[in-house]
Amino acid sequence: MIEVKDLEISYSGKSIINGLTFHVPEGYKATLKGRSGSGKSSVLMSLLGFVKPANGIIKINGYILNDSTIRKIRSITAWVPQELGFNLEYTHELLLLPFSFRLNKSSYPTQVEINNALTDFGLNPDILEKSLKELSGGEKQRISLCSALLQKKPLLFLDEPTSALDAKTKSIVTEIFLQNKNLTLLSASHDDMWAKYNDLVIDITKYH
């Protein structure tokens, strides 16, 4: 599903990732491990075409990432960045935001699906009517993760998916994502518990 070969990422001439090579087969759960500032998010961003690699080849779902394939690639992905400081008012707006795009209209979740998903994440469906300002960091994080999952995309990129969660919700989220057999997942995380349940752990600090 994801093949990365000799990836080099540099900012203003200074290389922060060099020679990164890995392969995530379909259905695998992989995580990029490394301390803060090691370039984990940048790798995810380069797989989505937001950061232009200085070198290397990225292949996703059989497509070599370039100008003509990037839209195809983005159509099969869902991405949850670490901070979602969006200018939205209500929780349901955040949850359903991706379903306002034409591509995702066909997978618009039913009320039952939404309620089930929220319950799975340990959230009360009433939360949807709450203002986003009332939500805790962990609740907001679970809403965006839930939104990514509801899109039913085959490939998910999650950036620090457990950073705002406590131990209990962390194990819930870990279970939901890592036990989902149909899903290919690449995350960036420095959470050891999350890493433990992944099929593949890529230590990014080796590629500096």
């Binding site: 900012y11 922060i16 500032g37 940048s42 989505l48 591509l103």
Partner: protein, 282 residues
């Protein structure tokens, strides 16, 4: 239509009244007296010249000269818009000037040709002031819209990326920013339209009434002008943004850094660097 002229002597009497603000400014040692004198002098000289060449143009009333006049106004408005929005001149010249042209052609054709129905379409008395009012307002509103649009795309670039990475097309991902730009630009115009006549008599009406028109005719022109400004502004803004979008994104739909004016780009680069450092910190 008989206009009551003001004699030069009487106009001078008008200037004499400036003694009141000047002495107040002097008394309170505001240091503004010199500036008032400069401003009044500039106003007088500039208006005097405008009067001279408008008189000339109105007398000639030549289609080509009138058209050239409007084209010059469009050029000036284009440069001012790009300058005040801090955008790259090379990138934005075509989108801005083309949008103004499209807007003015539609508005003039519709309002002069169909609504006012002047005998002679390029009649300087209608063609120049209507075009001027529309161009001036388009410029002002466009600057606000463009500033809002490009500022929010740069500031909230994460949201734009979130949209794209979750399946939105570029057009869909830009929708929230276009919405914000339109709101920022049109809210004041709408508010103004809603209270017009209640708080103050609008300029055009006042001018026409002073010039000898009946108030009934004056309001018709005022309404027509407000509508053409509203519609013209909308056309200009939406075309500038949509045409501009063709030039400011690379083939992967990422915002190119060079859409800002060169002097401003340094600041933008630093901001980008800072967010990238923040991103890599994770």
């Amino acid at each position: 239509m008989e206009t009551h002229d003001i004699s030069w002597m009487n106009l001078f009497l008008g200037y004499l009244m400036l003694i009141i603000p000047v002495s107040i400014l002097y008394w309170f040692q505001t240091g503004l007296v010199k500036q008032v004198i400069i401003s009044v002098l500039r106003m007088t000289v500039q208006l005097f010249f405008v009067g001279l060449y408008l008189e000339l143009i109105f007398n000639l009333n030549n289609m080509w000269i009138n058209m050239a006049w409007v084209v010059i106004m469009i050029f000036i408005a284009t440069f001012v818009t790009i300058q005040r929005s801090e955008l790259n001149r090379k990138t934005f010249f075509i989108p801005v000037i083309l949008s103004l042209l499209i807007s003015i052609v539609i508005i003039d054709a519709y309002f002069i040709g169909l609504v006012v129905r002047t005998e002679y379409f390029f009649d300087a008395r209608f063609f120049i002031p209507i075009s001027g009012m529309v161009i001036g307002n388009c410029m002002e509103r466009n600057i606000i819209a463009l500033n809002t649009y490009y500022r929010s795309i740069t500031r909230e670039s994460l949201m734009y990326k979130y949209y794209l990475a979750n399946g939105a097309t570029r057009q869909e991902a830009l929708q929230p920013y276009i919405k914000e730009a339109l709101k920022a630009s049109f809210n004041p115009l709408l508010a103004n339209m809603a209270v017009i006549g209640l708080i103050a008599l609008p300029g055009v009406m006042t001018g026409q009434i002073l010039g000898g028109s009946s108030p009934n005719v004056a309001i018709k022109y005022q309404i027509m002008l407000l509508m053409s400004i509203f519609i013209g502004t909308m056309i200009t803004i939406i075309f500038t943004i949509l045409l501009g979008n063709r030039y400011i994104f690379d083939n992967m739909d990422n915002l190119k850094p060079d859409f800002k004016r060169v002097e401003k780009r340094k600041k933008y680069d630093n901001n980008v660097k800072r967010t990238q450092i923040k991103a890599t910190k994770k």
